[in-house]
């Protein structure tokens, strides 16, 4: 009941968060990885003393590489990002990264041509859009029978339409990916964290996962509505939603907990390659859980009130 009764306060908190997130995305944008922009990524480690950043930069400046960024990673290495270079140029870069007294080992290297990057970016957008559309359709389909079949189609019904369930599910989903994206905007601004293919993967996974919570709650509402009808019980929609929420919150929190357990262990122990991936999932799963409880169900109540008012006129 808590989330339904206090929905105004909750909406304003979530609303503020959403506004802040959009603000962050607009002011800082996102830093895209070379998978999407094209370019070269080189990670090197040194045995012996770690060379000074300034020294390496000075050596790199002599090579006509255009704009590049050099960042320290871990205790013994650097990550260099620059435009997409040809294999022949690479030897020069390696030379520039070498200093006397420390041995250089290349841990990872990737070069992505601009065409591939552009193509992947398009694909990522299409993939996210497709998932969103399919999920709306699925939710609308799954909840198509939320109104009683016996009811006359012509007559205006009192219940919220099944499409509304779909739209609310999507609205909530957009919130669920907005929050991790905003986090990337901030992390990108502060630490240069990049949105790469792994992050898009995490976002798509969140889309599929978070909607589960919403579906479980909606499903319970549907069941309670049906039972009320069978037992000819009159109950305010608001209280049906509240009751359904209290029946499902233990499940929502417990499943999110088990998922959070594994993604946080990946975050803590999984090492740097999957760190941002795990972080996106952690934040996304968290956002997905509170949004289903505090946003999806109360929004249904709002939709019902609006419908009631319209019918009352």
């Amino acid at each position: 009941m808590f989330f339904v009764v206090n929905r105004k306060i909750i909406f304003s908190i979530i609303g503020t968060l959403v506004v802040l997130s959009i603000g962050a995305l607009f002011s800082w944008g996102l830093v895209f990885g070379i998978d999407f922009t094209g370019g070269t990524f080189i990670e090197v480690a040194y045995t012996g003393e770690l060379p000074q950043k300034e020294v390496l930069e000075e050596q790199l400046d002599t090579k006509e590489l255009g704009a590049y960024s050099l960042r320290q990673t871990g205790e013994d290495g650097y990550i260099l990002r620059l435009r997409d270079i040809a294999e022949e140029e690479y030897n020069g870069v390696r030379e520039a990264l070498s200093v006397e007294g420390s041995e250089l080992t290349e841990k990872r290297r990737a070069t992505v041509g601009p065409v591939i990057g552009e193509e992947l970016k398009n694909k990522a957008f299409v993939a996210i859009a497709t998932v969103v559309v399919l999920i709306v359709m699925f939710v609308a389909f799954a909840f198509r029978n939320i109104r009683d079949e016996d009811e006359n189609e012509e007559e205006e019904t009192r219940e919220v339409s099944s499409w509304m369930y779909g739209f609310i599910a999507i609205f909530v989903l957009l919130h669920d990916i907005l929050i991790p994206l905003a986090m990337f905007s901030v992390l990108g601004f502060l630490f240069g964290a990049e949105v790469d293919v792994l992050i898009v993967m995490a976002l798509l996974t969140i889309l599929g996962y978070s909607v589960n919570d919403t579906i479980v709650i909606f499903d319970r509402i549907r069941e309670n509505l049906r039972r009320n009808k069978e037992e000819r019980e009159e109950e305010e929609f608001e209280s049906v939603v509240g009751r359904s929420l209290s029946q499902t919150y233990a499940r929502s929190i417990n499943t999110s907990l088990t998922t959070l357990i594994v993604v946080t262990s990946l975050l803590i122990f999984g090492g740097p390659t999957t760190m941002y991936f795990a972080l996106t999932l952690t934040v996304g799963v968290f956002a997905g859980t509170y949004s289903s409880l505090a946003l999806a169900a109360p929004l249904l109540v709002v939709a019902q009130h609006r419908k009631d008012r319209k019918l009352g006129e």
């Binding site: 998932v131 088990t258 990946l266």
Partner: protein, 438 residues
């Protein structure tokens, strides 16, 4: 079904789990057993993407040309002696036919120094016609004499089937080779001077055909016939001749190299994260749901064994992203159980007997489980389609995980739970805390 049946099944399922687990373990121990397949990001190596310039080709010929190109590159890669290299053709561009580009993916496990590899792979294939001469001195291998006839003088090759009029058997595959004007004269000269000799054809320095010159050929069209066991063999020769006649130039568009040490590090960390996450989930289920939690835990262990068996025997290449996807699926696998147990708790509250509560709990939990997993499957499918290779690995593992976990959570946990009726009743302390509210 009565209790004994369920209990027997429980025992069988547990035994299958133990047996599979043991066979996985022992296969990994033996050097000649089937091992897990790890991706380049975990064992180190290079992943190269080439774009093929097929503009000069007729659209209908592109697919054949790419197959030929792949074979040529595969041969070159084999020179390196890399274990399990991979060369595959990939069509890229998704919105329209005209944007389609052909790509060649080359994976070289263990190779991190690319200079030599890139020089060798990128070279344009060469097609040469040479005259076979008897071995010199003590050598038993014949020697080959340059003729000056190369792929550049070739127009194209095509596959035809002989008819009765041409003599011999009908429907026998033949390879027709057309030369251009310059090639026509040179070919007439070569064939005229060397009737009865072998004219060997080399692609990339490798002998691909060694026909005998039967007669002087003026028209500029040679026929290679007989000696083909199957039409496929003749087709392969046509492909190879064409790739030499009209080479498909390739350009390196993306490279990815991971050092072996980094790969090992990622793998070790991934495994560690997996063990910690998995154990914590098991503990959580056990503490929160007690006896049913134990049943879910056992089902989760069986899930783990099943998935590992799929990885090993299908086989699925394990990548860093795949490990992440697998871990995530472990967290989500319990979802169905949590749903069921929460329902079970409600049913028990209504004062139902344990066995009835289990049956009803499962029945009621099914619709949300089905719907929830379907949406995750939608995501997994789109991800698979989105797929560059890392994403595909993740999507595959994630999708398989969803399907397998539905099976383990519903069928296996249910079997265990039903088997437990009689051991526990609705007031048992084994169900306390999570399942039964005091």
């Amino acid at each position: 079904m009565n209790l004994t049946v369920f209990r027997s099944w429980s025992v069988i399922l547990l035994l299958v789990g133990v047996f599979l687990g043991y066979s996985l373990y022992s296969a990994e121990k033996h050097t000649d057993g089937r091992h897990f397949k790890f991706g380049l990001d975990l064992i180190g190596g290079s992943h190269l993407v080439y774009e093929a310039d097929t503009d000069k080709l007729d659209p209908t010929e592109v697919t054949e040309a790419m197959v030929a190109l792949r074979d040529v590159i595969e041969n070159r890669v084999n020179i390196f002696g890399v274990s399990e290299p991979l060369v595959q053709v990939e069509k890229a561009g998704m919105f329209s036919e005209s944007e389609r580009t052909e790509r060649l993916i080359v994976e070289l496990p263990g190779v991190t120094d690319l200079d030599e590899a890139i020089a060798l792979i990128g070279a344009t294939p060469s097609l040469e016609f040479k005259l076979e001469r008897p071995p010199l001195g003590t050598s038993t291998d014949p020697t080959y004499l340059d003729t000056g006839l190369t792929g550049a003088l070739l127009k194209r090759a095509r596959l035809e089937f002989s008819t009765q009029q041409q003599g011999g058997f009908s429907n026998e595959p033949m390879v027709m080779v057309d030369f251009n004007n310059e090639g026509k004269d040179l070919f007439a000269e070569i064939t005229g001077n060397n009737v009865g000799e072998n004219l060997a054809i080399f692609l990339d320095g490798e002998l691909i055909s060694n026909p005998v010159i039967r007669d002087k050929i003026f028209g500029g069209t040679a026929v290679i016939s007989g000696g083909f066991q199957t039409a496929e063999e003749a087709k392969e020769l046509v492909r190879n001749l064409n790739i030499g006649a009209l080479p498909v130039p390739i350009e390196l568009v993306s490279t990815q190299t991971v050092g072996a040490t980094l790969g090992t590090e990622i793998l070790e960390k991934g495994i560690k994260a997996g063990i910690v996450g998995f154990s914590l989930v098991l503990l959580f289920m056990l503490f929160w749901y007690r006896l049913p939690g134990l049943a879910a835990g056992l089902a989760l262990v069986i899930y783990l064994v099943f998935m590992l068996a799929i990885f090993k025997y299908v086989p699925v290449t394990i990548t860093a992203a795949g490990i992440a996807g697998f871990l995530l699926s472990v967290g989500m696998a319990v979802d169905a159980n949590v749903l069921i147990f929460e329902r079970l708790k409600e049913e028990l509250k209504k004062d139902k007997e344990y066995a009835d509560a289990v049956v009803d709990g499962f029945k009621r939990a099914w619709p949300p489980i089905r719907d929830g997993n379907l949406t995750s499957l939608i995501s997994a499918t789109i991800l698979f389609w989105f797929g560059t290779s890392i994403v595909k690995g993740f999507a595959l593992v994630f999708g398989l995980g969803i399907l397998t976990s539905m099976f383990t959570a519903i069928v296996i946990t249910r079997t265990f739970l039903v088997s437990l009726s009689g051991v526990t009743d609705k007031d048992s302390p084994l169900l306390k805390s999570g399942i039964r509210n005091k």
